[in-house]
């Protein structure tokens, strides 16, 4: 093989290896973002999802002793019970948006391993008493899953 050929072949092997890594990385770590209605339409247990919704008023329960946190995420049409082990994060509260990562369980609830509270856009304090519309909220959630 010519010298040039060796360099080209070596480069191609490395490029192929990295392409394989990227492919494997995507297929292993891709997480689908769903709303409560989408999740309930086709719940697949043990598949990882990011579930985005609105924490329903009166649904938040927090047991400091056992670190059990439970609440209901809703998108206005459907609602999903969520359970998590750990302190509710800052910016997490009822009637606010949240994105949780985890999986659906056969017992009929969503087991969250991570809660990402939704920071309102550009740090805007919601005007007093005004409740943001579901549509607006879901839209901003879908654009922001961090």
């Amino acid at each position: 093989m010519s010298r040039r050929g060796k360099f080209v072949a070596g480069g191609l092997v490395i490029a192929a290896a990295i392409a394989y890594l990227i492919w494997a990385g995507v297929s292993q770590s891709v997480v689908y973002f769903v709303t409560p209605s989408e999740l309930l339409a086709a719940p697949t247990p043990s598949k990882t999802y990011r579930l985005g919704g609105f924490v329903q008023a009166g649904s938040l329960k927090w047991e400091p002793k056992s670190l059990d946190l439970s609440f209901t995420l809703s998108d206005g049409k459907a609602s999903v019970p969520v359970r998590h082990k750990g302190t509710p994060p800052d910016l997490f509260a009822e009637e606010r948006g949240a994105v949780v990562e985890g999986s659906w369980t056969t017992e009929g609830y969503f087991k969250a391993s991570l809660i990402m509270a939704k920071h309102s856009e550009e740090y805007k304090a919601p005007p007093d008493g005004a409740e943001p519309g579901y549509k607006e909220l879901i839209k901003s959630l879908r654009g922001n899953d961090k």
């Binding site: 010298r3 997480v31 550009e122 922001n144």
Partner: protein, 648 residues
């Protein structure tokens, strides 16, 4: 008054920058010196006007002039003095002002430094720099005007985002923007060299030094960002592969690639086309990064969402890439390599591999960042690829780069003989293997950590071996060890500056590996007086207290930390309640150490102080990241110094 003055200054600066860019280009075409002088005066004028904008904005912040919308949004009567100054870059509009100001400063330095020494390149460099400056002034004029008037004038402002009220936020954006804008200088020189068909060696020397400067500030910005994330956000991490972190990391990677491949061009007159492409790519990625951050297209802690600004950036990016790559294509015949690759086992091919891996890492980060966008646009499915993706792909790539870091500086150019390899690498390889075996015997089982440690010891071994030989050679001329080492660092500042930067990266690599593998955490609810234990530390909850600060209320927990050996100390993690927000913000308390940090976050608490939920982390070796940053600073400073050999 201030909104009108500020807006007027912005528009005037934009006109001056446009005129200057045009005049400088026209002078290059016609050779008329008067036009060039006029372009220079326009650059100075634009700088003065942008400085005036900054002064006006700071004055408005200090005087609580809430008729300026930006001031009303980002400050309130309780905001402390220093955060009123730094609130200037706390949000979109002001950060663009800071950006433009830095770009104007770089332009001024270029004028002072190169107007006489580079008569051929200089007019075009000035033209390109002023053109880029005009773009950012356009942003300040149309889609993101910082001096927009607010009516009616509110009695009090909303206040700065509490997360930004931290010393890290004062310095992080400044360093990052100095890095981002700094890449405009190499880009301008590359364009000028292409236009006047002087793609020889001199522009490479200038470009290399400016790339190191920008690279260094970018590295510093990334590290300070990590520090901010670590001690403010309360999750105990410093890097999340967040889209906006990625946006800053991509130009860092391509600039790193350029700093290495440029040596092949200097030495062997090869890779000219490639080096120019890397410069263009790096500059393009800074614009792309700004687009990601500022357009709100990707959500993250950093992004400031705004309306049409994304189209401006996208349009400018398209213009930059199309323009520069077609210019490159038209000069193709001048960019032929004059040397050839002789052997696979040579320094050239080590640098090639290094570039291949760095570009692959850039592509991976790019792919992972935009893939969710593409998926949503094309398939309508919203997905995310998080940290697992980036780690899986990048860890092998970065380990390979570490290995090359040991090989590259010592392997022979052209063709390395078996003797050269044995002489330079036998001892470091053995040292690496022995270190891994020793750690294994000590009970380190994590394969990634062992690999990282072995590679770090190998690379450190090559650096030590090279330095030892060079110092010994100088000792023969009679110097003592200290004088010999110091003289060597100064005389071969480029080489040893680079080595010290490598050492800094090694220290950072140890910090990353150690903190990922060995950090532990535990979350518990404690009754008053109750203790928890983690990794040999006992943490006792002593009670809560509440206080009123200038612009927020604070609930502070008192905790006694003991570790069985010496006397204990107290940690005071808190929750801050800012009136402009409805939920509290955690305030982390920690005790840093070289081996481990004790890091305590107050979670939930009972209003009567009877119990509190805390997260205790014992984070290992995180301090090594910051130490690595210091080493890197020293190395970069050494490498930027004028080349002593050439000056002498």
């Amino acid at each position: 008054m201030i909104p009108e003055l500020g807006y007027g200054a912005t528009v005037a600066a934009l006109l001056l920058a446009l005129w200057g860019a045009g005049a400088a280009a026209a002078s290059a075409r016609t050779g008329r010196a008067a036009l060039l002088r006029s372009g220079e005066r326009a650059a100075v004028g634009a700088f003065a006007l942008i400085t005036a904008c900054i002064a006006l904005m700071i004055y408005a912040f200090l005087a609580f002039d809430f008729s300026v919308r930006y001031v009303a949004i980002n400050t309130n009567l309780g905001t402390p003095f220093y955060y009123r100054v730094t609130a200037l870059w706390g949000a979109l509009e002001g950060s663009i002002v800071l950006w433009a100001w830095m770009l104007a400063i770089y332009t001024l330095i270029v004028v002072i430094r190169y107007r006489r020494s580079q008569p051929e390149l200089y007019p075009w460099v000035l033209s390109v720099m002023l053109g880029v400056l005009a773009f950012f002034l356009l942003i300040m004029t149309i889609p993101a005007p910082p001096f927009e008037r607010l009516t009616p004038i509110p009695a009090d402002g909303r206040g700065l985002n509490p997360l930004l009220q931290d010393a890290g936020m004062i310095t992080h954006p400044v360093a990052l923007y100095l890095g981002f804008t700094g890449f405009t200088v190499p880009f301008a020189f590359a364009m000028a060299a292409l236009i006047v068909r002087r793609t020889g060696e001199e522009w490479i020397t200038i470009t290399r030094r400016w790339t190191i400067i920008a690279w260094y500030f970018l590295a510093l910005g990334l590290l300070i960002g990590g520090w901010w994330s670590y001690h403010v956000l309360g999750w105990g991490g410093y890097w999340a592969w967040d889209p906006v972190e990625n946006a800053a990391f991509m130009p860092f990677l391509t600039a790193t690639a350029f700093l290495h491949s440029v040596m092949v061009q200097e030495r062997r007159r090869m890779l000219k086309l490639w080096n120019l492409s890397l410069i263009i790519l790096t500059f393009g990625l800074t614009i792309f990064g700004t687009f990601l951050t500022r357009s709100g297209i990707i959500g993250s802690v950093h992004s400031f969402t705004q309306g049409t600004i994304g189209y401006f950036f996208l349009g400018f990016l398209a213009l930059v890439l199309l323009g520069s790559f077609s210019l490159l294509a038209s000069r193709m015949e001048r960019l032929r390599a004059e040397g050839v690759l002789d052997s696979v086992v040579s320094r050239e091919s080590t640098f090639l591999l290094n570039n291949l891996f760095l570009v692959a890492a850039t592509f991976t980060v790019f792919f992972g960042t935009v893939f969710p966008l593409i998926s949503e646009a094309v398939r309508g499915v919203k997905i995310s690829v998080g940290a697992p993706f980036f780690n899986l792909v990048n860890i092998p790539v970065f380990l390979a780069l570490l290995f090359l870091m040991g090989v590259g500086p010592l392997i022979a150019w052209r063709r390395a003989s078996a003797g050269n390899l044995k002489r330079n690498f036998l001892k470091p390889v053995l040292a690496g293997l022995v270190a891994a075996a020793a750690l294994r015997a000590l009970g380190v089982a994590n394969g990634l950590v062992l690999t990282t440690m072995a590679l770090v010891v190998f690379v450190a071994g090559t650096i030590a071996l090279d330095l030892f030989r060079a110092v010994r050679a100088r000792r023969r001329s009679g110097d003592n060890w200290g004088a010999a080492t110091w003289g060597l660092l100064l005389r071969q500042n480029r080489r040893y500056g680079g080595f010290i930067v490598h050492l800094g990266i090694l220290v950072i690599a140890l910090g990353v590996a150690g903190s990922q593998a060995w950090s532990v955490q535990k979350e518990v609810t404690l009754d008053k007086g109750q203790s928890m234990e983690l990794a040999g530390y006992q943490v006792r909850f002593d009670g809560l207290s509440a206080s009123e600060e200038s612009n927020h209320a604070k609930v502070t927990g008192a905790f006694t930390v003991t570790n069985g050996r010496a006397g204990g100390y107290m940690l005071y993690p808190a929750k801050k309640f800012y009136p402009q927000d409805q939920t509290p913000i955690a305030y982390v308390d920690y005790r840093l150490g070289w081996i481990e940090d004790v890091y305590l976050v107050l979670g939930d608490f009972a209003r009567d102080g009877s119990h509190a939920t805390v997260k205790l982390q014992v984070n290992r070796m995180v301090s090594w990241l910051w130490l690595g940053g210091l080493v890197l600073t020293f190395g970069a400073a050494l490498a930027i110094l004028p080349d002593a050999r050439r000056a002498a």
